[in-house]
Amino acid sequence: MEEKKLKYIFLLPVFVFLLAFIIFPLAYSIYLSFHRCGLTHPEIGTPFVGIGNYWELLSSPEFWDSTLKTLGFVAGSVLFSFLLGLGLALSLVRVTRLKEFFRTAFVIPTIMPPIVIGLLWRFMLHPHLGIIDYLLSQVGFPPHMAWLGNPSTALFSLMVIDVWEWMPLMMLIMLAGLMSIPKAPFEAAKVDGLSRWTTFRKLTVPMIKPMMIVAILIRTMDAFRTFEIIYTGTKGGPGTATKTWEFFAYRIGWEYFNMGLASAFSIIMLFLIIGLCMLLLRSFRRGVQIG
């Protein structure tokens, strides 16, 4: 009896809290998305507009342009941080001295405030006064390259910053996987004279596959949320070169104060991102045990 009571007393606060602060705002957001709600014109009130906001968004080429940028950014960022993270994890697992030190030191970018990272890179990428421009011009690049100011390199530059910030997370997850795999099969492979590449492909990859999936999934979720480095680096520009979903929706909400349209946008984003993550999880053949 007492057991049963305690079970619910312990759970109830979190349950109520989440219900109040997740379900209610989302419901409110859905409500807003069907209404016109411009904070700059309070006299209009919030008239019902049906699917007007959704239609306005989905029929605008700007939205689809932004979708392309977002998917490109997420795919590039996840792929590069995955490959670099895997490479680093494979090296770090063999390091015997100062193991803990290396693991923690590499993580510094991931735990620094993202806003600091955005400002720092903006400073370093300055076309005239930045250290990166100076170093690159020393090795033969043309000087005064506006990496963030040029539409053809802006998104790529943001990707580099994002990979710098998050690669250590990929590395840590896969390192955790690598450290937990048994040694015996690898010794057997060595006796059998298998090449390193074959050993990696046939033994290492299948064994850390669940970790790889988790790493990719978590990184994908986070990449969609990227805001600070875009805000400080390019403000979505030049033009619309780096206007990802997150930034686009932010502008609709906080520069045009069109809360109805911004709500419709965020609802679409929420469903697309959750859908994509579930799809990603299913498409990996063997499901992973999470939790």
Partner: protein, 270 residues
């Protein structure tokens, strides 16, 4: 592995680390250069000066924003632990219907784009007159972090053998006493780790802080871009402020570095 191969690997990893952390070192070295030295190209190396730190600490609102950040982070951490730890214990020890769904639901707080939560909360806080208060930030940061607390500490409770509490129950203790006297102390390391991660994420958070606060309740993270808007070339001062903002985070993470993977993945990976 052959011996010389080991040496090469160690050297390679060290070089990679130094290169990788170059932006971090550059931030610290710039913070020690005053005025035009901070942005002169090619780089100059004047004698290190602490003037930028003096400026940031005594001539800006640094202490006010620091106090705000501390208040927000400490209250958020205490509240998230207070709600999250018992819930984690309950999920770890009892069968609860729909537990898997709950996990996915909680994970959506990480999938959901910040904008999706920002709009309804902005409207709600606007109506409640809570814009530019620390209360608004505390509520938002709790939502962001409670899932982390629940899932990280649940993992630690799962590792404690159930027999310990069962024998305590046989000795006549109530379930709550067993929780308080045995489970809680045994999971304390995990609880500290979850708390520190909550603190760090709240400390670093920028998006909501910049939207929901303006003058009274600015946090340190939200104050950082002011170096950009006012005068484009306050690089030295900006780097000094950035270094000061990073110090607490790095110190705290070093304390819980063993649980860093759990913290960063919401306990999805042990």
């Amino acid at each position: 592995m052959v011996r010389h191969e080991k040496v090469v690997l160690n050297i390679a990893v060290t070089v990679a680390l130094l290169l990788y952390l170059f932006p971090f070192f550059w931030m610290i070295s710039t913070s020690l250069k005053v005025g035009a030295h901070a942005w002169s190209i090619p780089p100059e190396w004047p004698f290190p000066s602490l003037d930028n730190y003096k400026y940031v600490l005594f001539e800006t609102g640094f202490f006010k924003w620091f106090t705000n950040s501390m208040i927000v982070c400490i209250i958020t951490t205490m509240a998230a632990l207070g709600l999250g730890v018992p819930a984690a214990y309950s999920l770890s020890r009892f069968r609860i219907k729909g537990q898997e769904h709950l996990f996915f639901f909680i994970l959506t707080t990480r999938m959901g784009p910040p904008v999706a939560f920002a709009i309804p909360f902005y409207m709600i806080f606007l109506n409640l007159g809570m814009i530019d208060t620390v209360g608004a930030l505390i509520v938002l940061y709790m939502i962001m972090n409670i899932a982390l607390v629940v899932w990280v500490t649940k993992g630690f409770f799962d590792e404690i053998p159930k027999e310990i509490e069962q024998s305590a129950l046989l000795d006549g203790l109530t379930r709550f006493q067993a929780f308080r006297k045995f489970a809680l102390p045994l999971a304390s390391e995990g609880i500290y780790a979850a708390g520190i991660f909550t603190f760090v994420f709240s400390w670093n958070e920028y998006f909501y802080a910049s939207l929901f606060t303006s003058t009274q309740s600015r946090t340190l993270a939200a104050y950082m871009p002011s170096f950009l808007v006012v005068k484009e070339f306050l690089w030295g001062e900006m780097c000094a402020a950035a270094t000061l903002v990073c110090i607490p985070v790095i110190v705290l993470i070093v304390i819980v570095h063993r649980y860093i993977v759990r913290g960063l993945t919401m306990g999805v990976v042990r």
